[in-house]
């Protein structure tokens, strides 16, 4: 029992990332009909938003501290962040410590801007072209984006820790009334899951309860009719692209403490998140979320020792295997609408 | 016995009876038109002939063999060719290549792994394709990209492609839909010419009464998924039941 709960928990954080990326991906496909291979790159850029903010916050000037000596006996040079001058040392350190959560505020406008520019500058011209062309041009864009990041940030992973308060683990099992020390779970992962749940909830609420969301949903169902009604659906779709970019970016921001960001992390997640979208059903938002979590949890079950003894290597391929089976038996995915991309 | 025998065909989509108890017999070497108001089930019926839809009940026999459950390419190999409402041609290929493909399909079957031979050196196929283009007065367009032709020419090419296979039954799905009057008349003339020159059975689904009465030797009127009457054109024209089905549609009076 404990083992099962632990595996479910382990699956949740990865599942959250899959779900968030897939959500944006399917939002773009559903509204704009575009297959966006650059979506992984947006996730990666989000992660680097966190890196950038933490660098900005730690911008320092050097002072010579006469009271301390280094090992050669010279006066020690100390880097003092500007934040210390602005807010005092204690508050400054707290702000630096909280760089990753603070990046959320920083990343939202940046990612929306990137998304809007991308849609207006490039994607717009590909609405009427075949899906293969869309895949190819966004694949090229993904390469360009990751090379730009590599140029500015280098090729090595950049550790970006969570706030000190959330590092380390806690005994989740004991909290639930199980024996202690059986279900140990890192704080940040539970936060990541909660964060993902909030973002997903917000996106759904936004689509469900606002006029904007209603028009977008109508547009997803039948673009031409909505256009005939005289509603400027294109402008809304542009914003939708920005929103999808922001969701992917936020997923990336919060993922940085789990995996140090590097320039190719987007490509690594891209393939998996496409698989997630397809399993969930192309263009189905609940499907993407469901499939994200289901696949995340399945993957973590497949990596249990007992499973690997019987079927070694299953954890490596389970997601692809599920995808292949789903695609062959139920092409529209778990929750896809009938007739959407069912060729 | 007709070449195409349809017996008791029914098809439902959810709660909608698209076709119910359709009986139809298309005699060899005739032009048989199936007409009816919008939503009468004409296209559904046609799709049952070519393997795109499988009816829930009844049978469709072509030359004594059932076509049900067969794939479109198998039905074509039995001798049925279909012309679509909007011309379906290979737009990325040249006109000559468009003509060669059906010739290959007829001679070599549904699949042939001739990956090493030069197709332009296949004198038999090239000759047939060229002769067919010649017969359709399209020889001058052989090197043209099919996409760049006028709509009337695309229709002509599609019909030529179907005819090059020497089908025993040619199905035409509203061949003049969306055409200007001049193009429609050209198509009528073309079909008349085909009828005179070749031993071929033509089943035509049409909305335009002018086309139907210029061509058809027998007419079946379909309404709400069932055949109303089947008769020669002269008897159809004044038939009270037909007038009733078409009430409000002025074309019949013309």
């Amino acid at each position: 029992m404990e083992a099962i709960i632990l595996q479910i928990l382990n699956g949740l954080d990865k599942g959250s990332a899959y779900a968030l990326i897939a959500l944006g991906l399917t939002l773009i496909f559903g509204t704009l009909g575009v297959v966006n291979f650059a979506h992984g790159a947006l996730f990666m850029i989000g992660a680097f938003c966190a890196v950038t903010l933490s660098r900005i916050l730690t911008l320092s000037y050097t002072v010579v501290d006469e009271t301390q000596k280094d090992f050669l006996g010279n006066p020690l040079k100390v880097d003092v962040p500007y934040l210390h001058d602005m807010f005092g040392q204690a508050t400054g350190d707290v702000i630096i410590d909280w760089a990753v959560p603070l990046s959320i505020i920083f990343a939202i406008p940046v990612m929306i801007a990137i998304g809007v520019v991308m849609e207006r500058g490039l994607i717009k011209h590909f609405y009427k072209r075949p899906h293969a062309d869309q895949i190819l041009v966004t694949f090229g864009l993904a390469i360009v984006l990751q090379e730009v990041i590599k140029y500015f940030y280098g090729a090595n992973p950049i550790p970006t820790p969570a706030p000190a308060a959330f590092t380390g683990s806690f005994d989740f099992g004991a909290m639930l009334g199980f024996d202690p020390n059986l279900i140990i779970y890192p704080y940040w992962r539970i936060i990541y899951f909660a964060f993902a749940a909030v973002v997903i909830g917000a996106v759904f609420a936004f689509l469900q309860f606002t006029t904007f969301g209603m028009v977008v949903r109508a547009g997803m169902a039948d673009r031409e009719t909505v256009q005939l009604l005289g509603i400027n659906i294109d402008k809304r779709f542009t914003l939708m692209f920005g929103l999808a970019a922001a969701v992917a970016g936020l997923a990336g921001v919060m993922y940085t403490p789990i995996n140090s960001p590097n320039y190719h992390m987007g490509m690594d997640f891209l393939v998996l998140s496409f698989v997630v979208v397809v399993v969930g059903g192309m263009g189905s938002l609940p499907g993407a979320v469901l499939a994200g979590f289901v696949l995340g949890v399945l993957e973590s079950f497949a990596s249990m020792g007992a499973v690997l003894e019987v079927l070694p290597g299953l954890n490596q391929i389970i997601i692809y295997l599920v995808a292949i089976i789903i695609l062959l038996t139920r092409p529209r995915g778990l929750m896809g609408r009938k007739g959407v991309m069912e060729e | 016995m007709g070449i195409l025998e349809v017996k008791g065909v029914g098809k439902r989509f959810g709660g909608l009876h698209a076709l119910s108890d359709v009986n139809l017999s298309v005699k060899e070497n005739t032009v048989h038109a199936i007409i009816g108001p919008n939503g009468a089930g004409k296209s559904t019926l046609l799709n049952c002939f070519v393997g795109k839809l499988i009816p829930d009940t009844g049978s469709v026999m072509f030359d004594g063999q059932s076509v049900l459950g067969r794939k479109p390419h198998e039905i074509n190999q039995m001798g049925i060719s279909r012309v679509f409402q909007t011309p379906e041609i290979f737009s990325d290929l040249t006109v000559l290549e468009n003509m060669m493909i059906p010739c290959f399909a007829q001679r070599d079957g549904a699949f042939s792994m001739a990956a090493y031979a030069d197709m332009m050196k296949d004198k038999d196929i090239v000759g047939r394709a060229e002769a067919e283009l010649e017969a359709m007065n399209m020889a001058d367009k052989r090197e043209m990209n099919a996409a760049s032709m006028s709509r009337g020419d695309k229709r002509r090419l599609e019909i030529a492609m179907c005819l090059s296979q020497q089908p025993r039954l040619l199905l035409l799905d509203e061949p003049t839909a969306g055409m200007a009057r001049a193009d429609t008349n050209n198509t009528i003339d073309l079909l008349k010419q085909i009828k005179e020159e070749r031993d071929i059975t033509i089943a035509i689904i049409e909305h335009d009464m002018h086309v139907v009465f210029s061509l058809a030797e027998r007419i079946t009127v379909l309404a709400q998924g069932t055949p109303l009457v089947e008769d020669v054109p002269d008897n159809i024209k004044g038939h009270p039941k037909v007038r009733e089905a078409y009430l409000g549609e002025t074309q019949v009076a013309a």
Partner: protein
């Protein structure tokens, strides 16, 4: 000649000349000059040119003709590699069985993958192939370690059985050869200050590339090739014309898989090692880039694309800021720094960025790739010439 029309024969001969003379053409700089490091005429790189050329020619038979975009062809390259290395371990260091088996195994594997993936089309097909490639990669990396050597991969060892070869002397290294002619054997030809390396492995790979190219031309001009173009153009009409499109696409898939296997086998013949990284999906992505960059659906395009990408990867990537400063040293200091700073992100280690940008530009503006670009330029300059003379590229549409 060779059963081809004049235009295709001319193209084939041109490519043959380029392959034969590549060691000279690619080494334009004297051996001791500062520019010598930009010589591309060394065996290792030239081998990669032709091997990736084969890979791309094969991929083009699938994507260029049928329009089915596979992101999974790295898997067949990898299977070919593993098959070849096992032949070298078990049978002989002679490359002939290795190469034959690599084609056979890649063909069988692509038959399986294609049979399943081709049940879907469009983006679903792309994702299915992607899933298969990633699965193969993961398996090769982990569970299949007894067969694939896991992360480290496989190399021929001294104590491998190699039942056809005699025992090797202690301390000797097994070397890939063709009936005794070692792949690494080179003849160095010094002319003036220039040094040209004529390498056995390169020429063997080159001959196979020419054979593959010839075969591709035959396929393009055959009824089978026309059917593949019909698949891309209008599957509905094809089916209603009595043709079964499924076996055609499957055959194209298997043929392109066999080309990939041949490329994988040749890689092993040249460097006698195989590892799972060859199966990673980005390797399959690279061949997509090559084919489209050069011109999907054209004969010569994929070869050009492969050459261009491999050249950038190996030569352009060597240009560092010091070299740039030397090149622009004649300019005033400020201008020099400015130009170097502008250029630097795009070359040297940043060559991928340039590649990505060029690729995007090609997809947006030049769907026919570099070949179409070349044709447009030729048309600008060569008005008045006959159309057939301009079109030396073998673009698919004209059947002549």
């Amino acid at each position: 000649m060779f059963g081809l029309n004049t235009k295709d024969t001319r193209l084939l001969i041109l490519v043959a000349i380029l392959v034969v003379l590549a060691p000279f053409i690619l080494n334009p700089f004297p051996e001791n000059s500062a520019m010598a490091q930009f010589n591309a005429g060394y065996p290792d790189l030239m081998q990669r040119f032709v091997i990736f050329g084969i890979f791309a020619i094969g991929f083009n038979i699938l994507f260029g003709l049928t329009g089915y975009l596979s992101f999974g062809h790295a898997a067949f390259l990898g299977v070919g590699s593993y098959a070849a290395i096992w032949m070298m371990k078990l049978l002989t260091m002679n490359v002939v069985p290795a190469i034959i088996l690599s084609v056979v195994f890649a063909g069988l594997f692509s038959l399986l993958v294609g049979w399943i993936s081709l049940r879907r089309s469009g983006i679903y097909f792309s994702i299915l192939t992607l899933a298969f490639a990633q699965m193969s990669y993961s398996l090769a990396y982990s569970v299949l370690t007894p067969i694939t050597g896991g992360e480290t991969g496989l190399q021929p060892k001294l104590n491998d059985p190699r039942i056809l070869d005699g025992a090797l002397a202690e301390g000797a290294t097994p070397k890939a050869n063709l009936f005794g002619l070692e792949m690494g054997a080179s003849y160095e030809l010094g002319i003036g200050g220039w040094l040209f390396t004529l390498n056995a492995g390169y020429y063997i790979a080159g001959v196979l590339m020419l054979a593959s190219f010839y075969l591709a031309i035959r396929i393009f001009r055959s009824p089978f090739g026309m059917m593949l173009r019909a698949v891309k153009s209008n599957q509905q009409r094809m089916n209603y014309t009595g043709l079964n499109s499924k076996p055609y696409t499957l055959a194209a898939f298997v043929i392109s898989g066999m080309y990939a296997g041949l490329a994988g086998g040749l890689m092993v013949a040249m460097d006698t090692q195989a590892g799972p990284e060859r199966m990673f999906w980005t390797v399959g992505g690279e061949v997509v880039l090559m084919t489209i960059l050069g011109g999907a659906g054209t004969l010569i395009g994929p070869v050009l694309g492969a050459g261009m990408i491999k050249y950038m990867e190996n030569i352009i990537s060597k240009i560092n800021s010091k070299i740039l400063h030397e090149w622009f040293a004649f300019m005033p200091d400020g201008v020099e720094d400015f130009i170097v700073n502008i250029l630097y992100p795009f070359i040297g280690k940043g060559w991928h960025l340039t590649l990505g940008l060029i690729f995007m530009a090609v997809v947006i503006f030049l769907p026919g790739g570099l070949v179409e670009g070349g044709q447009r330029i030729a048309r600008l300059f060569g008005r008045g010439k006959k159309a057939s003379e301009k079109d030396a590229s073998g673009k698919t549409t004209p059947a002549e």
